[in-house]
């Protein structure tokens, strides 16, 4: 089983088993170790450095099920040279993987708590492993809710899975979009506004948030207004990560390195830096 690699700077070759188109520019790749190792163990919220040979390397969160380590799943939006190259990979082709890196979502501390999972845009990918983990152990938690927003209905990722989750009787799923044409029968509005519709005991609620910075900022504010404690609000930060090991300093945010000390942080730990401009 591949885990922390012997040399964390050396990519291991992985073969593409499957490519699913999520939206116009977002793809989910299912990978397996090319050398035939049995799988890849990781914790929800961790990321890998994905290397397209001859193009470059970028950090991408793992979006698969941590209880199914036989395959490695990443969801990537084609926005730059490397991500476009990753999205252009075909079944059978190979890419390099270094990882897993980073501090995961604190799901092991969640038993006995209400858990709110809040995601915007492609931010659903890094929290999806946490959702898998929570649902696989559903009786251990109190109220469990997902709030997910995207720009339009066409930008929603993991649509089939969202519908499947919605069909469960023990998991409330709120989906919203910023704007929609007439045939959309779901909610229109912004993610922070949906927090008022969620049911939770603020004293015993853990919130896991991943999405664009502005969304996270206003979402955190709403949660604080509802009485959720800062130390129980977790955010996943995105920074320009290069080495993944806290050596190069590219992802430094004040006193922390996002790749090594994060990407998941409790809000009270990063609050001062989170709100600081031009950092």
């Amino acid at each position: 089983m591949l885990n922390a690699l012997a040399d964390p700077m050396l990519p291991a070759p992985f073969r593409v088993l499957k490519v699913n188109r999520e939206t116009g520019d977002t793809f989910t790749l299912t990978l397996a170790p090319a050398a035939g190792e049995p799988g890849f163990r990781f914790a929800p919220g961790q990321f890998n450095m994905l290397y397209v040979f001859g193009v470059g390397e970028i950090p991408i969160s793992i979006s698969g099920d941590p209880d199914q380590p036989e395959t490695l799943v990443h969801t990537v939006r084609a926005v730059g040279a490397v991500s476009r190259a990753i999205c252009g990979l075909k079944r059978g082709e190979t890419l390099g993987v270094r990882g897993p890196f980073g501090v995961p979502w604190p799901v092991t501390k969640a038993p006995g708590w209400d858990v709110l999972v809040i995601a915007g845009g492609l931010g659903l990918a890094p929290v999806r492993p946490a959702v898998y983990h929570l649902l696989a152990r559903r009786p251990q938690f109190g109220n469990l809710e997902l709030i997910y927003g995207a720009r339009t209905p066409e930008d929603l990722v993991f649509r089939q899975e969202l519908m499947h989750w919605r069909g469960r009787f023990d998991f409330r799923v709120h989906v919203t979009v910023d704007t929609a044409k007439g045939d959309w029968r779901g909610n229109v509005g912004v993610v922070p506004n949906l927090i008022s519709r969620a049911r939770f005991d603020s004293e015993h609620t853990m919130a896991l948030i991943c999405g664009p910075g502005v969304m996270m900022r206003f979402t955190v504010q709403e949660l604080l207004n509802r009485g959720v404690k800062m130390e129980n609000i977790y955010v996943s930060l995105e920074r320009n990560m290069k080495c993944g090991l806290g050596l190069c300093g590219h992802c430094q945010l004040g006193p922390v390195f996002v790749c090594k000390d994060g990407p998941v942080f409790s809000y009270d730990r990063v609050r001062d830096w989170f709100l600081l401009r031009e950092v």
């Binding site: 520019d25 915007g120 910023d178 704007t179 044409k181 664009p212």
Partner: protein, 151 residues
């Protein structure tokens, strides 16, 4: 005869209002149902009623000559529809349509405004709630304009 005061008192918009004021508002209120696709209000129509949603879902829409309606907000149980009924010229600026069967309390705007003029305490209590509603709506609109998910 059924009184609407308990239903009004349970609605988040009117929560905390004293019984005297609830009684006055109840005199201006009626229970109304809208089937899926029915309009609660339409752009340019007179703003005659203000709605407190008890169940169901309402889409607030702007109609585009090319491309049809575009939904800009969705309102559900516990929310209020008709943000600007107290502003001249008392016309709606958008459409609102029931997504599925929706039950509301419809408040007669003219009657309610008269009562507020007669009882400024009631007027102030309602205006405070409106100020909050508008502040929330203003914030939501700004966040939608920001385009969180811009690439």
């Amino acid at each position: 005869m059924e009184t609407l005061e308990p239903i009004l008192a349970a609605h988040p918009f009117l929560q905390g209002l004293d019984s005297r004021h609830l009684k006055i508002i109840a005199e201006c209120a009626a229970k109304v149902n809208f089937n899926a696709g029915e309009f609660l209000l339409r752009e340019q129509e007179e703003a005659a009623r203000f709605y407190l949603i008890n169940s169901g879902q309402v889409s607030v829409e702007i109609f585009r000559a090319r491309g049809g309606p575009i939904t800009i907000a969705t309102l559900v149980e516990g929310e209020a529809l008709g943000w600007l009924w107290f502003e001249k010229p008392y016309h709606w600026h958008f459409d609102a349509r029931a997504v599925h069967l929706t039950r509301v309390l419809a408040l007669d705007v003219k009657a309610l405004m008269q009562r507020c003029e007669q009882d400024h305490e009631l007027g102030y209590a309602l205006m405070k709630r409106y100020a909050h509603l508008l502040a929330v709506q203003f914030r939501v609109t700004i966040l939608q304009l920001v385009d969180f998910y811009g690439k």
